[in-house]
């Protein structure tokens, strides 16, 4: 049962072929069996999930369907505030973090009928792309033990890949949805900045944070996006743009869509397997009628610098209290990254914000004047061994972090929708991933292209050996 996609399960529950309690128990059984190795969950709410499942089954028996996710078990990154459950943000602080505001995205999924299984492990304070966590255990890669699961939404990636949950929420400030999606062989969407409310989720950088879905199919991601998107009075950056129903347009032909492969930056230093996987996807999409062309894109190096100033300033401001009062509670690399922000001047911060506006305008005009979407690798190399990625010294760890996330970070600065999805496997069984990036608020086109690729390939049928 847990091998089904979220959409398939929702349909089966609606048709009363499977009960919400059966689906919930199946997930809880897998969590009980596999979480000791994977460390995907920090908090499991078995009692709450079962009670909710029973209530939803009773509702359905009485002819009441709450919404499109009626009875579907989901789980949430442990920076989403959920009533009744603790929120650690991946830290070991005994007080944990709290908010008077419930995470809007979780509330919307719950209103649509979802069941909360629990809270998912993450890199400490969402700072780091490898999925290691000194307090709650390193999240292991379900495909290859001892390898990076990707971060910071590492538990979300591993839980969905290993079928401990049918879908998850992650957050993405520099790649934290897409990197674990890539390492764990699932689908992850960083929506357009402003598309999904961040209210009720721990901020890391107000200018760069995004919340988004992580699932086992593009259709599932489209469905979750439709539910969580939309203006929220609790998030001043949330946009009034209507998301529509991208899931209804997934099967529309992609013939004539213009797809760009960047000539510069995005293939520099990537491994041959990664390059070959993305080029193979481009060939497949061309065979389906897309017009694939290569193009030079505005150099993302400037965007990386802009994002660096914004992220460091904002994250050190947000977490100033823990860094100054209880630095011993933080890992060395996290502490080093946060401390940098105390040294950034207001002048540089504001100049970075002004530059971001200009660079975004130029990128959108130049790139999307030529193509409808970009196709790039998500990670420059398949998931490396965790011990190698996190080996000291600290400055070398930070350099490895920056290298590993160099392909995802520019799209946080640009705020563009970016979908990571499976693109094959290495000879030793590690997932490969490609990204599709679209115009602002054009998740529909990105998802349509992703769905076309997914349908034309058979990667989604493979399951991790757990």
């Amino acid at each position: 049962m847990t091998e089904q996609t979220l959409s398939e399960l929702a349909a089966a529950i609606a048709a009363r072929k499977i009960s919400a309690l059966e689906a919930t128990d199946a997930c809880l059984e897998r969590i009980g069996r596999l979480n000791g190795r994977l460390h995907a969950f920090i908090t499991v709410d078995a009692e709450g999930a079962r009670a909710r499942a029973r209530a939803l089954d009773a509702d359905l028996a009485a002819g009441r369907r709450r919404g499109p996710l009626h009875g579907v078990p989901l789980a949430y990154k442990d920076l989403c505030h959920v009533p009744g459950l603790p929120t650690s943000c991946g830290t070991r602080t005994p007080e944990y973090f709290s908010s008077e505001i419930e995470c809007t995205a979780v509330a919307r999924l719950t209103a649509a009928g979802a069941i909360t299984l629990g809270k998912l492990n993450m890199t400490e304070l969402a700072l780091g792309p490898f999925g290691d966590n000194p307090h709650h255990g390193d999240v292991d890669n379900p495909w290859k033990a001892g390898h990076v699961s990707g971060g910071s939404s590492s538990g979300s990636g591993a839980a969905v890949a290993a079928a401990l949950a049918f879908g998850a929420l992650g957050s993405d400030t520099g790649g934290s949805i897409r990197l674990p999606a890539a390492c764990c062989g699932i689908v992850g969407l960083k929506p357009t900045y402003g598309r999904v409310s961040r209210a009720g989720a721990m901020p890391l950088s107000w200018s760069l944070d995004h919340l988004g879905p992580m699932t086992r199919s593009v259709r599932d991601t489209a469905l979750m996006l439709e539910i969580i998107a939309g203006h929220d009075p609790h998030d001043s950056t949330s946009s009034p743009h209507a998301v529509g129903t991208p899931s209804a347009a997934l099967d529309a032909p992609i013939r004539g869509l213009r797809l760009g492969l960047p000539e510069n930056y995005y293939f520099d230093g990537v491994t041959p397997e990664v390059r070959a996987a993305v080029e193979a996807a481009a060939t497949t999409l061309a065979s389906l009628g897309a017009r694939v062309e290569t193009l030079r894109i505005p150099d993302p190096a400037g965007l990386i610098d802009v994002a660096g100033i914004l992220a460091r300033s904002e994250s050190s401001t947000i977490h100033a209290r823990i860094v100054r009062d209880r630095p011993h509670e933080l890992g060395a690399a996290v502490r080093a990254r946060l401390e940098i922000g105390f040294h950034v001047s207001a002048h540089d911060y504001l100049q970075a914000g002004r530059l971001r506006a200009r660079l975004t305008r130029a990128f959108v005009d130049e790139v999307f004047g030529q193509v409808d979407a970009l196709l790039t690798p998500t990670i420059p190399e398949p998931a490396p061994a965790l011990a190698a990625a996190t080996a000291p010294p600290v400055d070398e760890i930070v350099r490895r972090m920056n290298r590993f996330s160099r392909l995802t970070r520019p799209f946080n600065a640009l705020g563009l929708p970016a979908l990571a999805l499976p693109a094959g496997f290495t000879a030793d069984g590690r997932p490969l991933s490609l990204s599709i990036i679209g115009r602002p608020f054009d998740e529909a086109t990105v998802l349509r292209l992703g769905h076309a690729w997914e349908q034309a390939s058979d990667w989604r049928a493979r399951r991790p050996p757990v």
Binding site: S207, D305, R312, A357
Partner: protein, 52 residues
């Protein structure tokens, strides 16, 4: 902040990182228009959205 020899080394590295970032920003920002402001980022996204 830690002032032990390794701590001072990290501090020096931090300051060098910030200086490098600030230098890069300053080089790019030299010809920014007077009217450019951070909130224009959201305007750029809205302007780049597909026409309904």
């Amino acid at each position: 902040m830690d002032s032990s020899p390794p701590g001072r080394a990290v501090q020096r590295e931090v300051q060098a990182d910030v200086a490098a970032l600030a230098g890069a920003i300053e080089r790019m920002a030299g010809d920014l228009a007077l009217g450019e402001e951070p909130s224009n980022f959201a305007v750029a996204l809205e302007a780049g959205a597909p026409r309904d």
